[in-house]
């Protein structure tokens, strides 16, 4: 299956809007997640305080990230872990491949990890003949389908159970069924055998505790527990922003993350891993490798506005709350991270040029900021990126599509500013518009415009495609104010 890119966001979104099954699945899932999140947030009395505390912890960590990373890695090493630093995804993939190769690994089991999605680790492993099997049910489904995740915590959110049933019939050769218990049991029986046979287990990391060198991973299915304990070698891949200072800080994040993500008070499993196996029980893998990866994150760290992008704990609440995501789902964004936070992170990871549409794919309604457990001001970040895009388009000598499109827009806004700072010109413009609309007003409404009008005024055509336009009133407010009399009361003009 061909994967969509951010560059064709507009076309991707239109295709998604025409997919009735997708929209039905999204509507059910996002509204269910939204309701559960709200109920779970209301179940704690100090939700707002927790959000403030979490953000304070993240801010403090990000401000002194070097110090906390050093503490985390040295404490993890003391506990028996091996630390690897990766500048980017390519380096991280090389490190993973080398570890697997040195252990003559043929089969790798993976637990759900957005960070490994970000660096396309599965493809890198497959290219060298290593089978990388996803063991999270949602990830397993999309891997079977040859797709990518469309949600940060619910990767197969875009699929109905009937689509999944068809997929299992097709790929696993089971008898036709749409019984959910049968489907999950089928996946479980396939995966159980793989856990036992796997040479290496690869996981992500939710939090890395600097104080103890511990990593924490949250889940509901038990597959992470198996991935990180059955194979002899465990590789954990984490972004540099995953570190938090103290073990006690987990109390705040454990209250916020499950509630924001799935609406649970706590996930079914919390795996706290400090180093490798040791006495008295001696269980677990022989080796723990932690790959600490930058991959564009330190650039976000440099600017005080973009720094907050790194506070994200990947709960997915902003996706469920976003009116745009609710309609088009995750694939349309053409990026590993979709939705509001994806529209913020993606351009910073892959470059503004490739993802120039994403910061504009928002009505700036602010629902994302309202639900964010770490109070990331996503609308502020979107506006910041929009300003960067227009400023870069102005100084850029390139003739890319974005730059060309932006050149016309820039000219329009320069004219707009000239008019808006000259009240007489502004009033004249309004009168002209009122005069010209006579051409298109029919029965006190402006319906769908076509032909020459649509060509001359593309925004008007875009608006009236499926909405009428309210005609401009015969007199402007300032005219009525001057005439004051019957319609306008009020005090004296200045």
């Amino acid at each position: 299956m061909e994967h969509l890119t951010s560059e064709t966001f507009d076309a991707n979104a239109r295709a998604a809007l025409n997919d009735a099954q997708l929209r039905g699945a999204l509507r059910n899932a996002t509204s269910l997640f939204g309701k559960r999140r709200l109920a779970a947030a209301q179940s704690v009395s100090n939700w707002e305080d927790l959000r403030t505390q979490a953000r304070r912890i993240k801010d403090e960590t990000l401000l002194h990230l070097d110090k906390y990373l050093e503490a985390f890695t040295s404490n993890a090493e003391k506990a028996g872990a091996q630390i690897h630093w990766a500048r980017d995804g390519a380096e991280a993939n090389e490190i993973v491949k080398r570890i697997v190769r040195e252990r003559r690994g043929r089969l790798v089991v993976k637990s759900k990890s957005m960070t490994t999605e970000e660096i396309h680790l599965n493809a890198a492993l497959e290219a060298v003949g290593v089978e990388a099997l996803e063991t999270d049910l949602g990830e397993y489904i999309i891997q079977l389908a040859g797709e990518t995740p469309s949600h940060i915590i619910a990767p197969a959110i875009h699929k109905t159970r009937y689509q999944i049933a068809d997929l299992f019939v097709d790929k696993l050769g089971i008898a036709k069924t749409d019984d959910i218990a049968t489907l999950t049991a089928t996946a479980r029986s396939v995966l159980r055998g793989k856990f036992a046979a796997a040479d290496v287990g690869i996981s992500g990391v939710n939090f890395g505790v600097a104080e103890t060198g511990t990593i924490l991973i949250l889940e509901n299915e038990g597959n992470i527990r198996l991935t990180t304990s059955l194979p002899r070698t465990h590789i954990a891949v984490m972004g540099i922003e995953k570190v938090i200072p103290h073990f006690a800080d987990l109390e705040v994040f454990l209250k916020l993350l499950p509630r924001s993500g799935t609406g649970q008070h706590l996930t079914s499993y919390q795996s706290l891993i400090t180093g490798t196996k040791r006495a008295p029980d001696g269980e677990g893998p022989d080796e723990l490798h932690i790959i600490v990866m930058d991959n564009g994150r330190s650039k976000m760290l440099a600017h005080p506005t973009t720094r907050q992008s790194l506070a994200c704990i990947r709960c997915g609440a902003c996706l469920n709350a976003c009116p745009v995501y609710q309609q088009i789902g995750g694939h349309a964004y053409g990026s590993v991270y979709p939705g509001p936070i994806g529209a913020v992170i993606t351009p910073q990871l892959i470059g503004l040029k490739k993802a120039a549409q994403l910061p504009y794919a928002s009505s700036l309604c602010g629902a994302c900021r309202e639900v964010c457990p770490v109070k990331i001001d996503i609308p502020e970040l979107l506006l910041h990126l929009r300003a960067e895009i227009t400023e870069r388009a102005e100084v850029s000598g390139q003739r890319s599509e974005t730059v060309k499109r932006k050149a016309g827009e820039r000219m329009a806004f320069k004219c707009w500013a000239a008019v808006m700072t000259r009240p007489r010109l502004y009033e004249f413009g309004g009168k002209m518009a009122g005069f010209l609309q006579r051409l298109i007003v029919r029965g006190n409404r402006i319906g769908k415009v076509g032909g020459l009008v649509a060509t001359l005024a593309p925004p008007l055509a875009a608006w009236t495609g499926s909405r009428d336009l309210r005609p401009i009133e015969a007199k402007s407010f300032r005219q009525k104010w001057r005439e004051r009399g019957a319609t306008v009361r009020g005090g004296s003009a200045s």
Binding site: P323, T390, M420
Partner: protein, 253 residues
């Protein structure tokens, strides 16, 4: 309305500068005249500076900060010449933009201070009436079933939620019902509505669905732009429900 006339006398000294907004001024002026009517009934003396144009939000939201800044400076300067205690606007979105002005001057403390001073005295209509004047009843009368759509910027930037509802509940003969997901975006989003019209209308259709279920005669809101979006779709599909600005509802008698 005895208490009202007492209020009128007590407040006779309250001078309000009307920030009508460009969209109301140029496209939907009856919202402006209704705002003047309502503020007058609440005992305010109103002035209107004809040099005002736009708050600058279209440029700001599209990423053209230099252009937004020029327009913001124009508005700040003309407001500074007025001795009105308050600047009041029938728009949560444009009021929120004025509240954001300071961010346009990251390296200019003087302009930032001027922007902040203006923000402190700039209010959206319903919150001005309820929070600043403690007025709930402006003597309005409207026969019909009405509901309130929370426009995003008023709700999430200014915290306007209870004020318009309190005002609507005082309107004689009006029956108020809550809209399902009243706080969900209508899909307008400024240039978003024409950059991504299909997404914009898909979002809007959820709102339209909720309006149809509510069976109201009028959808009331605090921003002309959201009302143009909602009203435009209601008109296109031939719905009998109409859109009304809060000022229009409160001015009805």
């Amino acid at each position: 309305m005895d208490s009202q006339s007492t209020n009128d006398q007590r407040r006779s000294s309250i001078k309000v500068g009307l920030f009508v907004t460009c969209i109301v001024d140029q496209m939907w002026s009856s919202i402006g005249t209704s705002t003047v009517e309502v503020l007058s009934r609440a005992g305010c003396e109103i002035e209107f500076d004809e040099r005002q144009t736009c708050c600058g939000q279209p440029a700001f939201n599209t990423g053209y900060r230099a252009e937004a800044k020029r327009v913001a400076q124009h508005f700040i300067e003309l407001c500074e010449e007025s001795d009105a205690q308050f600047v009041v606007s029938p728009s949560g979105s444009c009021t929120a933009m004025v509240h954001h002005y300071a961010t346009l001057f990251p390296d200019d403390a003087k302009w930032r201070a001027r922007a902040e001073a203006l923000a402190r005295r700039t209010f959206e209509l319903s919150s001005f009436l309820v929070r600043e004047l403690q007025v709930l009843d402006v003597g309005a009368r409207f026969k019909g079933k009405v509901t309130w759509h929370d426009a995003c910027h008023g709700l999430r930037e200014l915290g306007v939620r209870d004020e318009p509802r309190a005002l609507i509940r005082q309107v004689r003969e009006a029956e108020f019902v809550e809209l399902e997901n009243a706080d969900a975006c209508c899909g307008f989003g400024g240039t978003f509505s024409v950059k991504y019209p299909e997404i914009s209308v898909a979002i809007l259709d959820r709102k339209i669905e909720a309006i149809a279920q509510s069976g109201v005669d009028a959808v009331v809101s605090g921003d002309a732009s959201c009302l143009m979006q909602i009203g435009g779709r209601l008109s296109r599909i031939g719905s009998k429900a109409r859109v009304m600005h809060l000022a229009e509802l409160l001015a009805s008698q």
